[in-house]
């Protein structure tokens, strides 16, 4: 008998008023898989993740984690799951250690094991020197690391990471992925991560491209590229007339706001023909090999944009203000 998949999602739908956030979503995540949900902001990734970690009820559909129906038994399902939310969820008036210990207690981790895990995890995310510092004194990258450490204090076999690297600098982002990699080598862990940074998805086992509440494609990065990837020519013409000509000649183009034209290319032959015809009239040309970026463009008809996470920014701004009622 093969073990149950780590996660089984069956026909999950969720709507907010008249907006459909998720429309009949179904997929399985295998054990120990690194599974990515890729989509632009507002695609429904976070809604899906909230349903998976049982703090949101779907309108219809089933979610099984390790074979257990977690919609019917949310508290039992939560024991196996570690979550890192998109919005920070640490108590910043407590120290790093106190936050982790709190987590261990509310997940019923026995004392010895709790202390051992706290030490291990703090070491893993390289915050040993910050152990007794109040969380409010940490940088946002460090807070993220504390949250990842926290999600693994109990026996979580599934780790949900909702945009774990959003708003962080390149170095911190790199580190977070290192930790995730190290953790997966140390213990049996299934990781589901949402992101809208395409380059981060390359290392994942499987990618689920999601937009407007629907799954557009789901496969390994290599297979996605083979099936939907395209060579892209990114062109900046010297004159508007040239631009109009290119758009007329190649029907399937996308024009970006900064006047860059993206031409979908069928291969090197097309690129060469393009060059010989327009070579002298363009300011810049780059040939982009099939990438997940182009997969995304092909599937959704638009590029993923890095929009500011509005709610998160507001929350952070409020936190900095403090104030008498904020304790």
């Amino acid at each position: 008998m093969t073990p149950d998949p780590a996660i089984q999602v069956g026909a999950v739908s969720k709507r907010y008023g008249r907006t459909v956030a998720l429309n009949d979503i179904s997929f399985d995540v295998k054990r120990q898989e690194l599974f990515a949900l890729l989509g632009p902001n507002g695609a429904g990734k976070t809604t899906l993740l909230h349903i998976l970690c049982t703090i949101l009820q779907p309108d219809s559909g089933t979610v099984r984690i390790g074979g257990l129906d977690v919609i019917a038994h949310p508290t039992r399902g939560r024991r196996d799951v570690g979550v890192v939310f998109q919005e920070p969820s640490l108590d910043d008036r407590l120290t790093v250690y106190e936050n982790l210990n709190f987590h261990g207690l509310v997940y019923g981790v026995p004392r010895r094991l709790r202390w051992q895990r706290i030490d291990e995890m703090i070491e893993l995310v390289e915050l040993t020197e910050w152990r007794e510092k109040l969380v409010r004194t940490l940088s946002s990258g460090m807070k993220r690391r504390v949250e990842i450490a926290r999600a693994l204090i109990h026996d979580s076999r599934i780790l949900f990471l909702d945009e774990p690297t959003v708003g962080l600098d390149a170095q911190s982002r790199e580190r977070i992925w290192q930790y995730v990699g190290r953790l997966r080598s140390q213990r049996e862990l299934t990781v589901v991560v949402t992101t809208h940074y395409i380059e981060e998805v390359e290392a994942c086992d499987r990618v689920c491209v999601i937009d407007r509440g629907e799954i557009l494609a789901m496969d390994t990065p290599a297979a996605l590229k083979a099936a939907h990837g395209q060579q892209l020519l990114r062109v900046v013409p010297r004159e508007d007339a040239t631009a109009a000509e290119i758009i007329a000649a190649y029907p399937d183009t996308t024009v970006r706001r900064d006047a860059e034209i993206i031409v979908k290319s069928s291969g090197d032959a097309l690129a060469e023909a393009f060059l010989s015809r327009y070579g002298s009239r363009i300011r810049r040309l780059s040939v982009e090999e099939p990438s997940l970026e182009s997969v995304f463009l092909a599937l959704t008809g638009r590029e993923i944009r890095d929009q500011a996470a509005g709610a998160r920014e507001r929350t952070l701004a409020f936190g900095r203000q403090g104030g008498e009622h904020t304790r």
């Binding site: 920070p88 108590d91 910043d92 106190e98 008498e324």
Partner: protein, 282 residues
Amino acid sequence: MKNVAIVPDDRLGRAIRLQVGGLYAIWFREVKRAVRDRGQLLGGVSRPLLWVLVMGIGLNPYFRGEIYGEVRFVVPYTYLQFIFPAVIALNIMYTSVQSAVSVIWDRQFGFLREVLVSPLPRATILLGKVLGGATVALFHGCLVLMLAQFADLSLSLGDIAWGLLLMALLAFGLTSLGIVIAGHIRSFEGFGVFSNAVILPLYFTSSSVFPLDPSLTGAQTSVIYPEWLVFLVRINPMTYAVDALRGAFIHFHQFEPWMGPAVLVGMVVVFFALALRGFSKA
């Protein structure tokens, strides 16, 4: 390296450890945050000082009718003694309702999610929060109690124990009320305004600063005060809470002695049930 004891996988033990540990963690967090909040402590100390030492001593001579030149009735208590239990109630009321701010805080800053995805049932989470807030409020009530000697109270150990029990019930009920209120309010600013709009009217109409009957005998009530005021005092549950505390600390009741404790228990049950209903939906 230490050996980690292998804990037998018994379900009951695990469930108990989860519930007790979780309750303790949530309670302890509330207490710890309160201890680290100097502003709240300052309020908890200055409020009783003002009410007991300034207002209590200042109005003391007027209480017994002595300023009329003739003593029309003899009151066996000083004004200080009379308002002292009410100030305890006031301090508990402020702290309890304020402690509910932490619910808004947690929601705003995402910490609530961390608790909500944990395997703890909502009831345990709420109980931990209420117990934590109530502990802090009880402590603030005890801050007032330390001024007892200024009010010439002679308290037996039994009085103190009974008084503390009543204070704990009051703190628990009011913290639950605070959480009910917090459930309907989304911003810190709104809560500040609203809590003052709840606390002060409840306090002033609880027969805290004046007795329903100046002679304390119950004979002249409707003669002295307009009926609407008497009505407000009588429907205010805080009236009975204050009455219960008076019973404990100065052995004086305006109402039947059983009414105070009964209303307190009623507040605990009703407000906690309401808070639980709201919290389960959150």
